[in-house]
């Protein structure tokens, strides 16, 4: 076997997979290790846990805040994320539960291909937008373009090889299954598939180190996931420290004459 194919077929898939899993675990653990000194949600915020669940669900399923602010971007972002979800689910079905298609219906299996086209269209929109709009171009770094190019390449290869039957799905599925059960068989020596696969591995490695970690991070967003109950229930700041203030006695001393003019002991009843 070609050493390169050995590498990307047997070694790097595991590196990528574990980097993704442990990288994300590390990321979340690191965020969780930092205290939340204040209860400071952005109002109007719910006061019950059910309310928070509703707020967060709307964010997750409807991208509600984005919808409020930018309808065009909402469409692009929403189509992208839904297509991504469909793609991930169908990949899992293909590899793990292949028989499921006979229950769901092979019509859906074909339909997934069209979601790939929407996927590409949405990514292209996001990419063009990043270049064309001066405000978004100003805030974009090289990495913001690269991640889109990476995604576009992966999705394009996937859609392309499947549409034109350039790859044998059954052998890819069995190979992937063998990887996931830690009993790898030789990868299909198909350039389309291998490129698609290697790029996907690169994406996996990239995720925990980058802004893509928002996929979990959004849940921890304190402006959204906290209840607006600060005056009702005390929130404790673990790093709080005492401060010195001018006391009444010092103050009284400083303004004794003026205060006595108000009344005895500064009191006016």
């Amino acid at each position: 076997m070609d050493p390169l194919i050995f590498l990307v077929g047997y070694i790097t898939p595991y590196i990528a997979f574990f980097t993704l899993i442990f990288g994300l675990i590390y990321r979340v653990a690191r965020w969780l290790s930092i205290p939340v000194p204040f209860r400071f949600p952005v109002a109007p915020a719910p006061i019950t846990y059910t309310g928070v669940l509703k707020r967060m669900s709307l964010e997750f399923f409807a991208f509600r805040s984005l919808l409020k602010g930018n309808k065009k971007l909402w469409i692009g972002g929403y189509v992208f994320h839904v297509a991504l979800a469909i793609t991930l689910v169908s990949h899992i079905i293909n590899v793990y539960f292949h028989d499921l298609w006979s229950i769901i219906g092979y019509g859906w299996y074909e339909a997934v291909l069209y979601s790939g086209i929407f996927f590409l269209a949405a990514l292209a929109f996001l990419f063009v937008r990043r270049i064309v709009l001066p405000n978004v171009r100003y805030i974009s770094k090289v990495s913001d373009y690269i991640i889109l190019i990476l995604l576009i390449s992966i999705v394009f290869l996937g859609v392309y090889m499947r549409s034109f039957g350039l790859v044998d799905m059954a052998s890819v599925s069995s190979y992937m299954y063998s990887l996931l059960t830690f009993n790898p068989i030789p990868p299909p020596e198909n350039l389309w598939f291998l490129t698609h696969f290697v790029l996907a591995q690169a994406l996996f490695i990239y995720i925990p180190f980058s802004k893509v970690s928002h996929l979990i991070g959004w849940i921890l967003s304190t402006t959204r996931n906290m209840r607006n109950i600060t005056r009702w229930r005390r929130h404790v700041n673990p790093w709080d420290y005492p401060v010195e203030v001018i006391t009444w006695d010092e103050y009284y001393h400083k303004f004794k004459d003026e205060l006595e003019a108000i009344g005895p002991g500064g009191e006016r009843r």
């Binding site: 400071f40 952005v42 001066p134 405000n135 600060t230 709080d240």
Partner: protein
């Protein structure tokens, strides 16, 4: 959205803190410096990075927000300071990026390796200049956060970033002058006890002339049931004056057992915008005074950032407030359960409850000369969620009430653009530009009275209307309540 790459807002810088105030407040590196010559301490970079490491490990939100922003651009056209100037650094994400890029360079693996590729930048004196400029062009109003898919809040990043600036000896006079006065004299305006007494007496005389009733306002009265803490601007006059009188008249009508304090005569808290320590210090005095006077609970006046501190931070910083009692309205018997722990009630909550129980004698016709609209201040709206109560009061005390354009109203409000330390003469040009969409909305609504519940709003909008030559009166919700009160 168009941007102006020449950075037109870079010229707006707040003036430097006086050396004497830095000494009074025990700020680091008291020295002579100016907004054009920072005169930074020799090891400033080391201090800044150390402080930065500290703040990102103190506030989960800050680290999270620095990490997960995807640069989608949803916030870019939401900041009034960007809309007014088209300066790209005033886009919330770009403002954060000034901080984020340095964070990436020194505290993330990818930034250390890939540098500019992932937007990581060295910390230089120029960076510090941009920080001081643009971090003090954020009023911390949180409008951007409303539209962010992850709720990323520029205000929280600015709170952390300003801690870093303070640590290397950079803070604006517009904040520190007021803080120093508050910590030594008792309030931001620097009103000593004698002047406060005269202000109160003057208010009493005016109320006597207008309504014929005699009132006597208790000051520093031990054993009163309620401590009333307004922002000190209310004692000072101007557009705030009617609010003070309105509240005092209302307290008289319902026979409230209350007191105001000279020691804790400031509800406002400019420390909020500088850092944790001074925010806590200023707020602490309220707590100490409530304890000394032996009141049952505290009633807070019309002030925006004051309520940010009270609603979100007070109990955490200076609690538990066990020596106080759970607030109950002595007039209606309503328990303010939502304030069970902090034991502070907003005057709008208090008044709305009075109106609901028909405990006020009101004649809304007294405000018939006004077409009233309500300006949602950023803090009551986006920190407290206090949106309905003021409207409920207004609809009961005046007949002509109009709402503003929903795009700049309620939780989407465009603020007065003078919070966050920006209420200074040197920023007036910037603020006039930024507040433009709000002014236009007020004009479109056809109002001639702008009611607000924030002292800074009142000061700022009065200035703006003068500049734009608009015949619109600015006043508090309780000014209109005061007008509508009937005494027989």
């Amino acid at each position: 959205m168009k941007i102006d790459r020449s950075l037109p807002a870079r010229k707006y810088k707040l003036y430097a803190t006086w050396k004497r105030d830095m000494e009074t407040m025990k700020l680091p590196f008291p020295r002579e410096w100016s907004h054009t010559n920072f005169n930074l301490p020799p090891n400033w970079k080391e201090i800044a990075l150390k402080k930065m490491d500290e703040v990102v490990n103190k506030f989960r939100s800050v680290k999270l927000f620095l990490d997960i922003c995807v640069k989608c651009g949803a916030c870019t056209d939401k900041c009034p300071f960007f809309l007014g100037t088209l300066d790209p650094n005033n886009m919330p994400v770009a403002r954060q990026d000034l901080f984020r890029s340095v964070y990436k360079r020194y505290f993330t693996l990818t930034g250390k390796i890939f540098r500019g590729f992932v937007g990581a930048e060295e910390l230089t004196e120029e960076t510090v200049e941009l920080w001081y400029t643009y971090f003090y062009q954020c009023s911390q109003c949180r409008r951007c956060s409303v539209f962010c898919p992850y709720g990323i809040d520029t205000a929280e990043i600015m709170i952390a970033a300003r801690e870093v600036l303070t640590a290397i000896g950079l803070s604006p006079r517009s904040l520190t002058e007021a803080i120093a006065k508050c910590e030594t004299i008792g309030n931001h305006m620097g009103i000593p006890p004698a002047a406060l007494l005269s202000a109160i007496q003057f208010a009493e005389e005016e109320i006597k002339e207008e309504t014929g009733i005699d009132i006597k306002v208790p000051i520093n009265k031990k054993g009163a049931e309620i401590l009333y803490v307004p922002p000190s601007a209310d004692f000072f006059g101007g557009p705030h004056w009617g609010t003070l009188k309105g509240a005092l008249k209302m307290f008289h009508q319902i026979g409230l057992d209350y007191t105001i304090s000279t020691y804790a005569s400031e509800g406002g808290n400019f420390g909020t915008w500088l850092g944790y320590e001074h925010m806590k210090k200023i707020n602490r005095k309220l707590v100490e005074e409530a304890k000394r006077l032996g009141v049952k609970w505290i009633l807070g006046g019309e002030c925006g950032h004051m309520w940010r501190v009270i609603h979100a931070f007070m109990d955490t910083m200076n609690g538990p407030l066990d020596f106080l009692e759970e607030p109950v309205s002595p007039i209606t018997g309503t328990k303010f359960e939502h304030a069970a722990s902090t034991k502070m009630v907003h005057i709008c909550e208090f008044t709305a409850d009075l109106i609901k129980h028909q405990k006020l004698k009101l004649n809304p016709d007294a405000n018939n000369q006004y077409i009233v609209t309500y300006h949602d201040s950023c803090n009551p709206a986006r920190v407290m969620g206090l949106i309905e109560e003021p409207r409920y009061i207004l609809k009961n005390v005046c007949r002509n009430y109009v709402e503003l354009d929903p795009n700049v109203n309620r939780e989407k409000t465009i603020c007065c653009c003078a919070g966050g330390g920006l209420l200074a003469d040197e920023t007036i040009e910037l603020r006039l530009k930024a507040v433009r969409p709000k002014i236009e909305a007020i004009k479109r609504a056809g109002a001639n009275f702008l009611a607000c519940i924030c002292a800074i709003d009142k000061a700022a909008f009065t200035e703006y209307f003068e500049h734009y030559k608009l015949p619109i009166t600015v006043g508090g919700v309780h000014e209109l309540v005061g007008n509508a009160l009937v005494f027989d």
